[in-house]
């Protein structure tokens, strides 16, 4: 039976088990070990939010602290990956992609293609995303649409501890560069996670709730928000099918299309900014490939087109909540020509 552990513990367990299994797996990032030269355990933060806690001692020499030089150490991780290592580098906040994005989208993503299929770059870049912690505009963004846009990158967003462990192990074993997104608000959520190592393959969406009336496609933290909404809607007889994409690249189009062909109504819930995000991507897909099944226009529930505000009064209305999902579902169910 799987015991209940937190999202953070699941990630830590995945890293520890993979490092045990394969010595080429190394972990690097700011304060991952917790202070170069610091004794480590009692001193070691193990990453700002403790995901890499304890690894410094278990695997000496394979958990590296870095100076605050993202281009340098993210680039180094990518370089090491081309030379037979399997690095897991931590970009503390995805908001810092600005100071290392070239290494990711112009180097890692393109090596294989540019070198005629001769290079493999098995690097994993873990990063924190998402609003809700009053961290203001430069520490609360989502930005996964930017990475989804890049051919050559895989983009992975686990919403539960079970997926977090399985997808981290898959990411480490994957021979392509993987952007691994962890929502800051999910670290302390817990759920059943088998002790043994296992993988969750990429490109397979997860139908977390079955329902015949409306399809809700979502990802990351918004999976939980959508399930809340679906629960409320079930009370007044509307059965929603909630689909967690789990990965935006590769994208499981079939599961989305099949569900919409069944319900005819689609709401997409995405915490990212509204323009060119996953909601617009999924809407275009369905409008193109399942147009005939649609019985109402597609509804999107996203953040507004503004930077993330600091004040709790504004941040709380910035983040899409269950009520807005319920309203969107009512719109699509109430729509008539």
């Amino acid at each position: 039976m799987a015991r209940n552990i937190t999202y953070r513990e699941a990630l830590n367990e995945a890293l520890a088990q993979e490092m045990e299994r394969d010595e080429t797996v190394i972990v690097m990032g700011e304060d991952n070990a917790g202070g170069a030269g610091a004794p480590g355990d009692d001193d070691a933060w193990g990453g700002v939010l403790g995901v890499t806690k304890g690894l410094y001692h278990k695997f000496p020499g394979r958990v590296l602290d870095t100076p605050i030089s993202e281009s340098a150490f993210i680039g180094a991780a990518i370089g090491a990956a081309t030379a037979g290592m399997r690095p897991v580098a931590e970009l503390m906040f995805v908001d810092f992609m600005g100071v290392c994005f070239d290494q990711i989208y112009n180097q890692a993503a393109k090596f294989r293609y540019m070198f005629g299929g001769k290079a493999i770059t098995p690097v994993v870049i873990r990063t924190m995303y998402g609003a809700g912690l009053r961290a203001a505009a430069q520490h609360s963004q989502c930005l996964y649409p930017l990475f989804t846009h890049i051919p050559g990158l895989k983009v992975v967003l686990p919403a539960t501890p079970y997926d977090a462990k399985g997808m981290m192990i898959q990411a480490i074993r994957d021979n392509d560069p993987v952007m691994f997104f962890e929502h800051k608000a999910l670290y302390d959520t817990s759920g059943p996670v088998p002790e043994e190592s296992y993988v969750v393959p990429f490109g397979e969406a997860n139908v977390v709730r079955e329902g015949g009336d409306v399809t809700i496609v979502t990802l990351g933290r918004m999976v939980h928000t959508s399930l809340d909404a679906a629960g409320q809607l079930a009370a007044d007889g509307v059965q929603c099918e909630v689909i967690d994409l789990r990965t935006t690249s590769p994208l499981d189009e079939d599961t989305v299309l099949e569900s919409v062909e069944g319900t005819g109504r689609l709401v997409v819930v995405d915490e990212a900014h509204p323009r060119c995000n996953i909601a617009t991507d999924i809407s275009a897909l369905v409008a193109r490939k399942a147009f005939g099944s649609l019985q109402a226009p597609i509804e999107m529930v996203t953040a507004p087109h503004t930077p993330v505000p600091f004040s709790n009064a504004l941040e709380d209305i910035y983040i899409p909540d269950a009520q807005r999902v319920v309203n969107a579902v009512k719109t699509v169910t109430g729509w008539s020509r």
């Binding site: 079970y162 043994e196 190592s197």
Partner: protein, 379 residues
């Protein structure tokens, strides 16, 4: 169990289907107060976190009180209805209802009766998981089939625990046991069964084996006939050439939910039993490290090309009639045709209507009856 003032009142309780089940929810009542029911009649559809199924009446009688409401979370073994003869007075029934209501409202699972805790034995360097329920009576060991695990007995283990010490194990390569199956021969699997019996200190035991588990049970009996009191074989392998090799290979090779769902459907007479949760659980199992390799190794044990390998009939013949044997088959079995029951010579045969290759899940009460009858014959 809820203390009953009048012992003619029978409390229908929320069953415990699976180790981790704490609460169950009634999705529909099949009966109303005042209905007459026979043993085996459907009482209610129940939904748990893991599985949905139908609760059957264990005893005949009149349904005098429906206590649990549809859609309400009821703790495991909480009383959900009362069956009693017409002459039992209302006040005794109402007292029982009040107490039952208290348990449901408290929401705390009242785990009277030994819950089956998970234990592990080290058998030849392999960790083998097994779980048991029931304090006294003969030891019954339930052995699942290819790709299954000890939870496939969840509809049987709890009810039988009232009379017997019932254990179910995870064979090597399955459940939470070690995933390495070595060369994958029946001997390796039989060692695990013997190992668990040793761990239980069971000098004498009844074996129940499903599909490949049946062949394993036979191998254990052949190896140590004195120790096996009876054999109940459910759709066992090795009693004929024909087998749905497409299902076996499909199960081993499936990578996604879309590929696995139609394959899993072939196990049941009624495909609707294949819920999303069941497919997700099978996928989660198949994605554990080492499982893919083990399932493909075991194909070699089960199949010779597209036909069955292994000759259980010979193994059975070698036992002579020292051990009482019963064979159970679902008439609608699409994996191994029920006709092969004929070649289980000397065994009492039960062919169950409306059941596919998983009668222990599709018709648990009838399979339970068959097992108990075999045990009775063993004396």
């Amino acid at each position: 169990m809820v203390p009953l003032t009048d012992d003619r009142i029978v409390a229908v309780t929320m069953p415990k289907w699976g180790l981790s089940m704490q609460l169950g929810k009634i999705t529909a009542w099949a009966v109303a107060e005042g209905d007459e029911v026979q043993a085996g009649d459907d009482l209610a559809d129940i939904e748990t976190e893991k599985i949905t199924g139908t609760l059957e009446a264990a005893d005949a009688g009149t349904v005098r009180r429906i206590i649990a409401r549809v859609g309400e979370d009821v703790p495991v073994s909480g009383t959900i209805a009362l069956i009693a003869p017409a002459e039992v007075g209302d006040d005794a029934l109402d007292a029982a209802v009040l107490e039952a209501r208290a348990v449901i409202d408290a929401g705390v699972p009242d785990d009277a009766g030994g819950g089956a805790e998970l234990q592990t034995a080290d058998v030849g360097g392999r960790k083998i998981s097994y779980a048991g329920a029931g304090q006294d009576g003969d030891v019954i060991l339930l052995v699942h089939g290819y790709g299954g695990d000890r939870n496939s007995w969840l509809f049987l283990q709890e009810p039988m625990a009232a009379k017997y010490r019932v254990y179910a194990l995870d064979l090597p390569g399955h459940g939470t046991s070690a995933k390495d199956v070595g060369d994958g021969t029946l001997g390796v699997l039989a060692d695990a069964v013997t190992g668990v019996l040793d761990a239980l200190g069971a000098g004498r035991a009844h074996l129940v084996g499903h599909s490949m588990g049946g062949a394993v049970a036979l191998a254990v009996a052949a190896r140590d006939p004195g120790r096996i009191a009876s054999l109940t074989l459910i759709a066992p392998t090795g009693f004929g050439a024909e087998i749905n090799a497409g299902y076996l290979r499909g199960f081993a090779d499936a990578q996604t939910r879309r590929e696995l769902k139609p394959v899993a459907g072939q196990l049941f007479a009624d495909e609707s039993l294949v819920t999303r949760q069941l497919v997700d659980d099978l996928l989660a199992y198949k994605r554990l490290d080492g499982v893919d390799e083990s399932l493909h190794t075991l194909l070699g044990t089960l199949l010779d090309g597209d036909a069955q390998r292994g000759d259980s009939a010979a193994a059975l013949a070698a036992l002579g009639d020292a051990i009482p044997v019963t064979v159970v088959w679902g008439r609608a079995d699409r994996i191994i045709p029920a006709a092969q029951a004929e070649s289980v010579t000397g065994a009492v045969r039960h062919v169950i209507d409306g059941a596919g290759h998983m009668p222990q899940m599709e018709r648990p009460a009838e399979v339970q009856a068959a097992i108990e009858e075999t045990i009775a014959r063993a004396g």
